[in-house]
């Protein structure tokens, strides 16, 4: 029983990390049709920025942790918005080229991170409470799992509120639904593009800081390893669907943890799940239509 609880909570924690990456990917794809390969780099940069701030303030203090989260989100949002303005916008409506630009950016940025911070992971520490465990139904669950889950839930709530209650949210939802119509009504959708990139980048930056706590290290390859699973999550959940991304993140991560524990091949099981979903429902769990 305690093993099952531990696997479940750890799985949901990992799912929360996947969601933080996948939510941005899914929003960006839904609105703009861009598959953002540089999203992992936003995450990595957020993690390094957070770690730098935490070291300046004090790695074991709660203030350091909170400021690290803030710094990660701000850096992620800024870099993402700049990427959209400087690179993606120039290739408006040319989806393949947009993907290629983000591919180039991700290759170049990971190499640059390696040059600056070295290729090896750097082990980090956080507030002492995060490293200890809490007893939950007889299982000793590391506390950082709860923080990750709470932050991801807050991000999900925040994005939903933003989409439902604000004017930009309205434009974005309408744009996902039918972009040509929104443009025809005289609304500049391109501003919404930058906003979506910034929101996705902020979520990824937060995810970076949390992922470095979850795994216990920062490395230039932190983003790339999470990005692939985030891709799988977005396809399984249905491209462009936020709710689909949330559900698929948890399903994929829990399945991965359970399979890893009992058979040791969690990653393969996830790909198998992807294959099954594609065969049964090519548009994903909550996607509208296959593109």
């Amino acid at each position: 029983m305690s093993t099952v609880v531990l696997l479940l909570v750890t799985g949901v924690g990992l799912g929360a990390l996947y969601f933080l990456v996948a939510s941005g990917l899914s929003l960006i794809y839904g609105l703009m049709g861009v598959l953002n390969f540089a999203h992992g780099s936003f995450l990595t940069l957020g993690a390094f920025a957070g770690w730098a701030v935490a070291r300046a303030v004090g790695t074991t203090s709660w203030a350091g942790f909170a400021l690290a989260l803030l710094a990660g989100a701000i850096v992620g949002a800024l870099v993402a918005a700049l990427t959209e303005l400087l690179l993606v916008r120039r290739l408006y409506e040319r989806h393949i080229e947009q993907v290629l630009v983000t591919v180039g950016l991700s290759l170049a940025s990971v190499a640059l991170f390696e040059g600056i911070w070295g290729p090896d992971p750097e082990f980090i520490t956080g507030p002492a409470w995060l490293d200890s465990t809490t007893s939950l139904l007889g299982a000793h669950v590391p506390n950082d799992r709860f923080v990750v889950i709470a932050v991801a839930a807050a991000v999900l709530g925040g994005i939903v509120l933003f989409l439902r209650r604000t004017r930009y949210g309205l434009i974005i939802r309408a744009g996902v639904e039918n972009r040509a119509m929104v443009t025809a009504l005289g609304i500049d959708v391109r501003k919404a593009f930058t906003v979506v990139f910034a929101v996705g980048g902020a979520a990824a930056g937060l995810g970076g800081v949390l992922a470095s706590q979850y795994f216990g290290y920062v490395s230039p390859h932190l983003g790339g390893s999470l990005l692939i699973f985030a891709f799988i999550v977005t396809v399984i959940g249905g491209l462009g669907s936020l709710a689909g991304a949330a559900v698929a993140s948890v399903v994929v991560a829990v399945l991965q943890q359970v399979a890893n524990y009992y058979w040791g091949y969690g990653d393969l099981v996830v790909v198998l799940l992807l294959a099954v979903v594609l065969l049964v429902r090519p548009s994903g769990l909550m996607g509208r239509s296959a593109r």
Partner: protein, 359 residues
Amino acid sequence: MSRPTLTPASAVVTVVVPVVVAVVLACLPLLAIQVPGVLPGPTYTPGTLHVLALCWLVAALALSYHLLFGLAGLMSFGHALYFAAGAYGLAIVLQHTELPLLGAAAVVLVGGVVLAHVIGAISLRVTGISFAMVTLAFAQAGNVLVRRNPGGATGGEEGLALRTDHVPDALVGVLHTRNLYWLALAVLVGTYLVVLWVERSRAGHVAAATRENEVRVRVIGGRPYAVRLLVFVLAATLATVTGMAYLLLQSGAVPRASSADFTLTLLVMVVLGGVGSRWGAIVGAVVYTLLDQRLGELASSDAVAALPAVLRVPLSEPMFLLGTCFVLVVLFLPGGIAGLAQRLARRRAVGPTPERMAA
């Protein structure tokens, strides 16, 4: 692009030029040509031949990727999987069975075709960006499998060394690099011919038409799925063959050959050279491979080490320079190297006309 009948001019380009180039390249091991700064030594030395053979194999792989991306418009992020299947498959079969090289290669080839067929049939249920992600996921699964080292079969992170008991002596050792060079060149020529044949076949035309407008192909009775699957399997098979030659050349397989990054570099090569152009893919691959080899030396040179950190750090990362080049080409040079060459040739043929000068 390709025409059903050959005009005299296009016959020169598609038949004579490749033959001349292949013959010249085949003679390189017998000559002593030095290209300072590009090649490490005279062309008959094993070191240079090894670099060139690597170029030809990478070019063959890029050509097979061109078949997918340039002809059928399928952006796959999992092409490295079939390359790795060739390299690892041959290494494993040679390790555990007593089959001779050709027999082992035939077994791996059949395995590669089956693998490509199964994965292609599933991934092609979606198109466009979803297809890219799904192929990426499958390749990642392959990469994980290789790194996990199931049953000690793949050697994990260390990679797998080639067991040479059943490989002919003429293909083993530094002394025989020349033969491996010819093997690599033969793989490139063979791949080129297959790609040319596919592009000029009916299936190739349907694939190109599907790339441009799938609905229309469907309306006039074509079957986009079947044609895409055919091109996918063919490209994967070519990649498997190249992977086997790569194993012989490098006398081993490393996990990097199965990584998503490796497929991304293929994409970079094809785009650098010019999407949709056979020669573009070859030139892109050769330029990329040479740059990759040479930029590494630039990175460790004293001139770079003496620079301030702001310049030294980016310059000492070849991938950063190549990635930046790639972004610039996508932004400012659509059509890549091939497109640039075409534009220059056209400008020379037309000459500066008065209107042009005025504009």
